[in-house]
Amino acid sequence: MFGYFIRRVLAIIPVLVVVAFVTFAMMKATKGGPFDANEKLSATTLKALNAKFGLNKPVWINTEGFSEAKAESSNPLHWVRGFLDSQFGNFAINALKGDFGPTYQSRGSETVQEVIARRFPVSLRLGLMATIFALIVGIPLGIMSALRQNTFLDYLSLVISTIGISVPSFVVGVLVVLLLSRVLNIKPIQPPEAWNGFGRAYIVPGIVLGLGTMAYVTRLTRSSMLEVKRQDYVRTAQAKGIASMVIIGRHMLRNALIPVVTILGPALANLITGSFIIESIFRVNGLGQEFVTAIQVRDYAMIMGTTLFFAALIALANVLVDLTYGFLDPRIRAKK
């Protein structure tokens, strides 16, 4: 088991390498650069900025740097360094040291890892709130729906969960703010301190953020509960007269949760990296905006940093999912 875990964690590395290459290539292929937002920028300043951020170097490999290093030094390591004195090479070398470089948006005054470190805790809290909401509402709603299939309760659950997925969060978010303000007189603007700790301020945005996942969890739980409901072992258990709550808990739910757990991995990673829309409506100082803004403004360092961070989260979440399969169904575990 432990060996399997280690093997899987190590397998994240090639994933990150591929993601880094592909993202870098895509990024370079997009039109418009990081300094295009300012149309008044003079050619002189643009040149200085490109030099400052290393954008005057070749994109992938630096043959000129290689020849120079060869002429200057006899150390093959220097040659390699000269060869890799390119935009990607420098990024990769610094990234290995844990430095993702200065962000272009801050005109180079802070690094990518500083931004992530500052914002991630907020996103994490919000994402956990959303996930908890999705599970504690979604699973019971799904179970209820399955047990009372094609009754009013089933339809009610259908409507509740569908609201979560059929109305975009930028609509729900604004409506919730207006509703709370008009009906409960909860003012739309929270003081900055409200975001410290795991405060109440996270509840509403967390719920709105978790709506979509809640809907998905509900529907999947219902579907697999129905599947499991008529399996032989459930019938056997019922025939033996085992109390229904125990059947649901021990026998049905365990098997029924496989699809839920599957989507939960990526969903968790998505939720804890935040949603730019929820963040902007509720003024949450999270990471979600960085993901989107970085791409919009072509903040190359930030794009690479946030993408790799997200990739690592996703891959790790999927390792956990696979481990959970073993827990939910011992026969799967036996194979590992």
Binding site: K31, A37, E39, T44, R107, V174, R182, N185, I281
Partner: protein, 594 residues
């Protein structure tokens, strides 16, 4: 300066939308400012605020009366003598020598002050400097500082601090995006273009920058060429005197900590909460103390949330999104608190003169005559702009009130198209109108523009939405620029030099449209270098006549600033440069009467 306004929900669109000053105001840019054609003059006394809507209430607007019930004050609510101002997008950086967007400058302008400043009529008046003097041919300017100037921490402020600001701006290691605005200073451009790797050249170039501190209260600046407008440039944020010790001790991100902002402006920064709020309190060491005890900027990217916060009394001044205008004008209470006045911005429809069919002046004429500006401003933009036929906006020196060529006239438009080398709409090549798709409101506006030309000229126009960064990148050269796009200019400082020479000279932004007129260039040079104020204006106006007559762009409209202001806020000025809030340039007079 560059303005940044985030669109509706998106805080994200940040850089993009910026109402970029430069050649650019894409439509997105003008997101914020709407203005009804009626009250055009700025500087109206705050009390007689515009509100061109009748007072009666619209029965069904979804908004009930704002809850004015005295609920407990939340920390975000306004207490005491502190003005709470809504801001849309949180800035990327507020470091005077590196900032470029209006959302950044509006912070700096409270905490710092240049040698000069703009008053409520946008005239350049003494600030840190009590006077200035040019030499005979306007190639040297000498500033004399006020006696006993102090920073907010009590330390003395001298000419050397301003010298540092100039040097820091010009330095390639700073590479501030607005450094070119100081290239009028001798040696500044050379220093900026020196590679940072070449230490020796860097030292020489640094020594050659034409700025020197003669004594604590005298600063002499040598200009690269005559620049009789330089005293106005000295009011800009790049000249704000940040303290060298603080910047050097705290490194590049010194600006993130409130206590590092030791400034010489009317307020000092007490706290900075990223994406949430920035709190200021009065700087008692400032030579002209403010009446407010403090100032608070609250960042709310979503306009509907902001409007709700305004209703709830959490903010005193709100920036309106144009889509909210009908609701606000229809609300009995808010229509009284609605404020609107023109902005120092001109939006135009830019042609690419190097691409068919717009190399033909007659086709351009047809397009100029065929634009229904009135309908566009009044209906499509809900009155948030006023049509114009000229370039420099009203209120800025050089405005040409008499310009009346190319007003909307469908008959003349059809006639011009018939007289063109193409002869008819069917003979025209495919025409593409590009726009910044990061502002959702842009789509409908451009659909109108295309439909308008189709209905009047019978021309079929293809719309091409482009994400903002791609849009602005494409507009930087005539090769990649599409045949048509909305553009314009947001003034950096109120001098015709900034409007004409910086934009329409052959080697300036005009190049990106493929426009060049030597004769106009000559007149602009005359305006730039003449020391006689009247002769300058005259030269610029003549140049403007030529440019507008050549129709490199169809002059369309001046957007307006639109705000909601609580009635207890008084004594604020209204200037065409108020990109963020009314009174932002003269905050010392603002009062709260609660």
């Amino acid at each position: 300066m560059l303005k940044r306004r985030l669109i509706v929900l998106l805080a994200l669109i940040t850089l993009v939308l910026p109402i970029l000053a430069a050649c650019g105001g894409s439509e997105a840019t003008s997101t914020s400012a709407p203005a009804p054609t009626e009250n055009t003059t700025g500087n109206a006394a705050p009390t007689e605020a515009p509100a061109d809507t009748p007072t009666e209430a619209p029965a069904d607007t979804p908004t009930e009366a704002p809850a004015d019930t005295p609920t407990e004050e939340t920390p975000a609510g306004n207490t005491d003598n502190v003005l709470v101002v809504h801001q849309v997008g949180y800035p990327d950086i507020f470091d005077p020598q590196k900032s470029s967007f209006s959302s950044e400058i509006v912070i700096l302008a409270q905490a710092y002050e240049g040698l000069t400043r703009l008053n409520e009529n946008l005239e350049t008046v003494p600030a840190a400097a009590e006077k200035w003097e040019y030499n005979a041919d306007a190639t040297v300017i000498t500033f004399t500082l006020r006696p006993d100037l102090k920073y907010s921490d009590g330390s003395p402020l001298t000419a050397a601090n301003f010298e540092y600001a100039v040097r820091r701006t010009c330095d390639p290691e700073t590479a501030g995006q607005y450094q070119s605005i100081l290239f009028d200073i001798a040696g500044c451009g050379d220093l900026a273009s020196t590679p940072t790797t070449d230490t020796a050249a860097l030292e020489t170039a640094r020594g050659n920058v034409g700025v020197q501190t003669v004594d604590d209260s005298t600063l002499v600046i040598n200009l690269a060429q005559p620049a009789p407008y330089f005293h106005t440039v000295a009011s800009l944020w790049v000249m704000y005197p940040v303290k060298q010790e603080i910047v050097e001790k705290n490194g590049d991100n010194w600006w993130q900590e409130a206590e590092n902002h030791v400034g010489n402006g009317p307020f000092k920064i007490d706290s900075i909460e990223e994406n949430q709020e920035i709190n200021f309190s009065r700087n008692d060491n400032y030579w002209n103390p403010a009446k407010l005890d403090g100032l608070k900027y609250i960042y709310i990217p979503d306009s509907s949330v902001a409007l709700e916060a305004y209703r709830q009394g959490q903010i005193d001044i709100m920036t309106i999104d144009p889509s909210q205008l009908p609701a606000i004008k229809g609300d009995p209470e808010m229509s009284q608190e609605f404020l609107q006045y023109p902005a120092a911005t001109t939006t135009d429809l830019d042609f690419n003169l190097t691409k068919a069919p717009f190399e033909d002046p007659k086709v351009r004429q047809a397009f100029a005559y065929a634009f229904d500006r009135e309908t566009y401003c009044e209906v499509i933009r809900n009155g948030d702009c006023s049509p114009t036929l000229t370039w420099i906006p009203k209120g800025i020196p050089g405005y040409d009130a008499g310009e009346d060529r190319y007003a909307f006239d469908p008959e003349k438009a059809k006639q011009a198209l018939a007289e063109s080398t193409y002869g008819s709409a069917d003979a025209l090549p495919e025409i593409t109108l590009a726009y910044n798709s990061n502002d959702p409101a842009n789509q409908a506006r451009h659909e109108f523009i295309a439909q308008n030309y189709q209905d009047i000229l019978g021309v079929k126009i293809t719309l091409e939405p482009q994400p903002s960064q791609e849009f602005s990148a494409a507009r930087k050269s005539v090769e990649t620029r599409r045949q048509l796009n909305l553009g314009g200019w947001i003034g950096d400082y109120p001098d015709p030099q900034n409007w004409l020479s910086v934009y329409w000279r052959c080697d300036a932004f005009a190049k990106r449209q493929g426009y060049c007129n030597e004769e106009a260039d000559k007149l602009m040079t005359e305006g730039d270098t003449s020391t006689d104020p009247e002769a300058r204006i005259k030269a610029y106006q003549e140049a403007q006549k030529i440019v507008v007559g050549d129709i490199p762009s169809v002059m369309l409209y001046n957007p307006t600033h639109i705000f909601l202001v609580k009635p207890y806020v008084t004594n604020y000025s209204q200037t065409a440069a108020d990109d963020q809030w009314p009174g932002q340039w003269t905050p010392t007079t603002v009062e709260l009467n609660k």
